[in-house]
């Protein structure tokens, strides 16, 4: 793996909606840094349809730009009948409930589906590995636990935005 990027070519990169909110609009430096890391690695961000909805649809500026420039694409949610994916989502959900002190049924479904998707991708299509990006710590932990439980720690990695564009998210912030 390249030392400058957590990605390597041909990996499947699954991206949560909060990453796109965290990087802001295309004119934002964090957006530009994120785009350049993704493009330099030659990977394509896979955005679940549900995530696209949360981002305000495919015509939203930050999504449209990424789709048009070819570094993002829309994918479907895991099949509700896929046992491995459902089991992974359940583990993620349980972890998130535990991390946030909430009852399991209070955990939002989308917070857990990335775990199911990651398992489905690694099992069915990815030879080069899967990277999941989310800016929510409890969700990150949930996916990590699901991956560990199903024995894919070598092939599925979970990262936050900081791991991708570095710890300088404040350098373009207007404070007041």
């Amino acid at each position: 793996m390249d030392t400058d990027t957590p990605f390597s070519a041909d990996q499947d990169v699954l991206v949560d909606a909060n990453i796109f909110y965290a990087i802001g609009s295309p004119s934002n430096p964090p957006y530009q840094r994120f785009r350049s890391v993704v493009q330099n690695a030659g990977v394509v961000c896979k955005l679940p349809r549900r995530v696209i909805g949360e981002l305000g649809g495919p015509e939203t500026d930050r999504v449209r730009t990424a789709l048009d420039e070819g570094w993002a694409t829309i994918i479907d949610a895991p099949s509700p009948t896929d046992g491995d994916a459902v089991a992974a989502s359940d583990i993620a959900k349980r972890t998130i409930a535990n991390e946030t002190d909430q009852p399991e049924h209070e955990v939002e479904k989308t917070d857990a589906i990335l775990a199911g998707l990651a398992i489905q991708y690694i099992r069915d299509r990815s030879s080069a590995g899967v990277v999941v990006l989310t800016d929510d710590k409890p969700a990150k932990k949930g996916i990590e636990n699901a991956v560990r439980a199903q024995g894919y720690t070598d092939t599925i990695a979970v990262h936050g935005l900081e791991d991708i564009i570095g710890d300088n998210s404040g350098d373009s912030m207007r404070l007041i």
Partner: protein
Amino acid sequence: MDVVTGGVTVVCGDSLKYTDFGLTNMTADHDGVRSDGGIDALDPPPRDVMDEETLKPETLARNAPRLETVVQLLNNPALARIYVYVCYWGPVAPPEIMEALDLSKSTTYEYVDRLVDLGLVDRDDSTRPQQLTADPIVIVEQYAPIVITPTVLHALALQEVDEDVAYFIDRYGIGKLIAALRGAGLHFAGKTTQRMVATDIDVRETEAMMIVYALKPALVVGRDHDPFFEYLFPDVADEMDLPDLDQVSDTPTRSSDLDG
């Protein structure tokens, strides 16, 4: 009619006052301002929270001006923005405010005059240029619940420069903005997901994610500069994963740090 607010503790500088703010009538009629500062009205507080001492006419009268100043800040984000700037980075001179907040000279002096008249900003005319300082303000009312601190006023003031914050306040009001601020703090401390914030404060997921990031500056600065930050985040004040203020390139500098 039931009394739905209890005593309000107001701290301004080193003076501590306990008063009845009569908040039922305070803000309900003002545009976009929620009277409760929260999501839902809670059960009425116990009757005995109000005692004769608190209800003495002279006590009530003494605190009335403070109530008016807070209402002014809540209803005027541009005013709140200057107040927060002076509070956090004072002593500062008006030209620094103009430059840092990108305001015209006339607007700056007009607002500074108003803040001085309201007693929120102190002006030292013995130096040229004049130096401004402001004591931090905190209003905490457990029964409503209400919590207003410099961090909250900063969040409110961000609507002047951030269209996401402006949209959110326009749609949901200040009470929900404060709830979102609390949710954002919990998110950055890893205690909740952004989708849970959406459910908790009853906004769309899109809106929750948007406002969590839009309010980040108020948290980044507040945890460094707001002495009352822990009133809003008693549990997670030290746990938020946010950039340090010294990493943020446009951090305003105190005038005392500048040459000359």
